[in-house]
């Protein structure tokens, strides 16, 4: 058997016939509005006002704090030691490594950690992070992971799509690093692993009988991502 990811990295993010592909297809309009948002187009051609990007970077810092909490919650909600470890590893990767990279990256944009720590969370940041956490607390581990998926998998798709698109501006694009980071092998591997974990969890937790509810969760989280891009764009 050949590994579909070998030939088609996009298919590895949405395994054919799997839950994620069904969730995306059931929310096709929202998914396109998210992954092809004007903010994303502005990253692709470098036209995004840097003021918007800086606003986004600060809010993304605050967002990451709650994303680390969400994976800690996933560890708590796990039924097996293996799943506990996966949740902890993801939370630690965010709170330590990803946070560290983000802080370093933001320093390159002239934004210090102190500034990020003291900036209040903007409305779309609160909306998205608390939606995910609350969904995880009211539902089970699958509900939580489905609420997290548009971020984890979506950024991988966006990075990949921009990287493959010949019209993406490379020379002199101030956002080229950002695109390279999410298109890069390291992040793609994280997202592929997340996708395959969700597909396995979907089987164990009866996803196909819960599809309506999961479609709603995925859709609401996707709309929260759209609002998060828009919040950046509105800062211009």
């Amino acid at each position: 058997m050949t590994d579909p990811a070998a030939n088609d990295p996009m298919a590895a993010l949405f395994p054919p016939g799997g839950l994620l592909a069904r969730l995306r297809d059931a929310n096709r309009d929202e998914w396109l509005a998210y992954t092809r948002h004007d903010f994303v187009r502005g990253l692709a051609d470098g036209s995004l006002p840097q003021r918007c990007f800086r606003h986004y970077l600060v809010q993304d810092y605050l967002f990451l704090i709650h994303f680390a909490r969400a994976y800690a919650l996933a560890a708590y909600k796990s039924e097996t030691l293996a799943d506990i470890r996966k949740g902890l590893a993801a939370a630690t990767a965010i709170a330590d490594m990803e946070m560290g990279l983000h802080i370093k990256y933001c320093a390159g944009w002239g934004i210090g950690q102190e500034e990020m720590q003291t900036t209040p969370e903007a409305p779309a940041t609160i909306a998205y992070t608390r939606y995910v956490l609350e969904r995880g607390l009211s539902g089970d581990l699958l509900d939580l992971h489905v609420a997290l998926a548009p971020c984890v998998i979506g950024y991988a798709e966006i990075g990949l799509a921009l990287d493959c698109d010949p019209s993406t501006r490379r020379d002199g694009n101030p956002y080229a690093d950002w695109i390279a980071m999410y298109a890069g092998a390291e992040y793609q591997a994280v997202a592929r692993e997340a996708a395959s974990f969700i597909e396995a969890l979907a089987g164990r937790r009866g996803a196909s009988a819960r599809l309506d509810s999961l479609v709603r969760t995925f859709g609401e989280a996707t709309r929260a991502e759209i609002a998060f891009w828009q919040q950046g764009l509105d800062a211009r």
Copy 2:
């Protein structure tokens, strides 16, 4: 179509082919150890030392407080207004009505509410109640209801079984009232409704794909019920 409950009240507690019947059958030994525990036999023939029963009654009061909390948690975890209302109605029925009946019943046994409020929770009480609540928080609404089921449905089965059994002592049995309460139409209706709610929820939340985990939850809750009876018996 005829209503199976009309002919067979036991079948109404475990709808044939449904989740509850599967959970009970997968934990047959535990279920029998619970529903035919020496404490229950002592209720049936009136031989249970009254000291044991009094200990049980006080702990059952403390238990009910957390059972009200568990249904409040169910209301919080609900996805629809109808389910929220069901959870609240059950929690309120426990915290107000059932608690009131229990206090009145205990008064007949010479136990005042003050005494019950100030008695510390015994180990098996803590174990059972916190197990149920924590299962509800780490899992979803179905996990919570499956953890609650051995109590709600089990007491209905025990009441019914003792009431139907010709060998149950009726005259001069100090526990006749207790048996009559759980065998009574009111409690049986509550338990039947709980059973049918769980079966519907099972469908909506993909129970058949999650059977191993649900069997474990039902089994652990049943073992907690056995320990709760035993705790009463050990008070002699």
Copy 3:
């Protein structure tokens, strides 16, 4: 000792020297931006476009569902039977009575329950409700009640302020009923009781040592209320 509420109903909502007064004063700008929002002014002089009000009513219906869940959560998080009952009574009052009144009131504006049930939650609705619920889950009962306070107490202040203000238009104001409802004795009593419950809880849960955190929670919930009014206004 005389009851301050007898003479000054506003003081009864923010008992002098108490936690609520400190939380409001520490968030003075946000509090004024909320209680004197253009949406509120539009209710006072009847100038609010009815389209905005209808949008608000539908979202308020969806909001109430989660507010009922928040009080159910409060019941779960309670340490005493008295507090459990208070939480359940509040949740039930919202899910049954207040919901019923709201549905009836909306019918008068030509909005059916079916329409409300099928309308998706708008961003500010999701942000506010999930913020409150998540704060309640990550913190304790006091954190939860402080997150709920801007809604419960704020609406009472707004109702009272509009009702006392001679410039509020009474004749032919389509929103006169709404104002009367929140200024009315029944709602004011609910809010006063909530205020005195929070003050007592503040003492029991060490509020004065936790002030920074509580000020932040109250501020974020107030900003969420501002965004909720603005969402209504933006629907014009």
Copy 4:
């Protein structure tokens, strides 16, 4: 200023005038019953039947899984990035390092990981772990840490006390390694850090106004520890 821990390692576990010392003193009988339990005495003089110790080791493995979950929950419930990281570090230390050491140590006693994974949780294991987790979910971060303290701090006190006691048997005591591990510098440093974290948290979360509730939590967790020793002893 001199560091009290330099002279008195016990004082470092219960900083004088701090919360932990008050919680221990308010539960003095329970604390002695826990730290001087017959199981502990049997470790000290080597008289504990090995069968009891093996039973304890297996249950301690299952216990550790939930303790890792409890620290993951602490990370979720944290309000600052620093606290999130502390929670994750503790959870990861348990799930990876401590678990690894435990598995290795158990191998020395002829107990394989497979055996531990498939052994059902015994009643006292369920009672203790679910009590802690549920307390953490119904309360705040301080309630959670106070519920965890009897384990973390208590084992350090027990290790230290046995190690300092000249009557502790050293030669040919099969439990000498166990004592050395908890008396050792590494574990003592972990416990001291936990103690100083709790004292700081106590200040930030208003512990002195919440003392009754915290005393109850600490007492219940201590009783759960007693039951956990007893469960081992009863396996003989």
